[in-house]
Symmetry: C2
Subunit: 247 residues, 2 copies
């Protein structure tokens, strides 16, 4: 048995309601069941819910019904955990999809804004199930007590993504030869970044050429040869740490 | 089909032989089979092997036997990839052991020297299978082309580990209240570090007290509530990045 009382942070359960339109609302059936049957909350108890777009609501249970639990908002915080920078990782889904799932979970915990699964020349995996990935993002958001749900874009052809200009710092982490700087030498704290991570067999020379022609800067993520999913996590954390150091 | 030829880095297969005593050696059966049947190497072809203690050997196949493949060393590099700092992560195995396995794989890819599984007051998992974890470390070392195999220590009671003084910077990443600095504020590039990561329910107040009494500095790993296995990876990468920035 655990000794002592774990801190609040560990016991807190977060509910996710994408649209909070009124002061009073009814939790969906699964969340109602969790609230009443698992957490055993009763009328008068408080809970927290997030809308995935920065809204954090403190609520009070008004009707502890295991199918239709009713709550009333008593406090709203907007932009909870908003950052000065945004991270968009465009990454080729791994052959073993669990590796990508793991990457998305970890990036969500660390903090990421947008994810685009990329279809590359050397992609072995050409199909993903967005609903499953979406569920992982929601679970990781709740678990890490965040109010923002990362945006999961549809699977996009790498060439198409490259042509789609964005107003951010653009980097491509490839393993091909050629002059490259470390991500930490390229990134300036406070800036938004879009970073590309290739499949197990790397980006093709064509894709790398097209990326450079479209203003993507080639970067390395350190001394080690990292797997695709590790590269995604390391890139995400590098940007966070550089912002923490720079602020 | 992939276009073009992937760079050497992607096609390279590394063999692991813990003891390289002579100039000529016979690969173990599984490695022999991989060499001859899977990679289809023939007499005269070259391959690389590592000893897990920094030795990197370029070898030439002298007898392509699928059961007893014989090779001769033609070049030896000692201390391949040696670093100016060492990282020891002592971490409570997760309830779901796959999470710890992922953590060890990722830390090995990023670069770690020692790992101690910790038995804590609030550990839900009290048993591990070191042989399985060892296999994961070997695979990750080979995959990330490293010559050093991280040392996996036996499962150790947290209290015992805390009393065992070590000549490194010592940090404990806990989630309890109290004044703490970020790991990046505590760490000085070039120093060796021992960092403790607790179980899902965190370290107990007793363990935290004992850690502080034994010279461990309380640290945070950023703004987010991270899972145990994410904390291990983030800590490991933070130390690497701070060294890269500081050098």
């Amino acid at each position: 048995m655990p000794r002592g009382t774990p801190p609040l942070l560990f016991t807190m359960h977060l509910f996710y309601i994408p649209r909070v339109n009124a002061n009073s609302l009814v939790l969906p059936e699964e969340e109602s069941r969790h609230c009443v049957r698992v957490l055993r909350l009763a009328a008068g108890d408080t809970l927290s819910l997030v809308d995935g777009r920065g809204g954090w609501y403190r609520c009070r249970v008004t009707r502890a019904d295991a199918k239709q639990c009713e709550v009333t908002c008593i406090e709203k915080i907007e932009g909870h955990g908003r950052r000065e920078f945004s991270i968009h990782v465009a990454i080729a889904p791994t052959k073993n999809i669990e590796r990508l799932e793991w990457c998305l979970e970890k990036c969500t915990e660390i903090g990421i804004d947008e994810i685009t699964p990329l279809l590359c020349d050397r992609s072995e995996r050409k199909v993903i199930h967005p609903e499953r990935l979406e569920k992982i993002l929601v679970a990781a958001m709740k678990q890490s007590l965040k109010a923002y749900l990362p945006v999961l874009h549809p699977l996009t052809a790498c060439r198409e993504f490259l042509r789609d200009h964005r107003d951010t710092l653009k980097c491509i982490a490839h393993c091909d030869a050629g002059e490259r700087y470390s991500l930490h030498q390229r990134y300036i704290p406070g800036t938004n970044i879009t970073l590309l991570v290739g499949p197990e067999g790397d980006f093709s020379p064509d894709e790398i050429r097209l990326a450079l022609a479209n203003g993507f800067l080639p970067v390395t993520l350190g001394e080690s040869r990292l797997r695709t999913e590790t590269a995604g996590i390391v890139a995400c954390h590098t940007v966070h740490l550089l912002n923490a150091l720079g602020s």
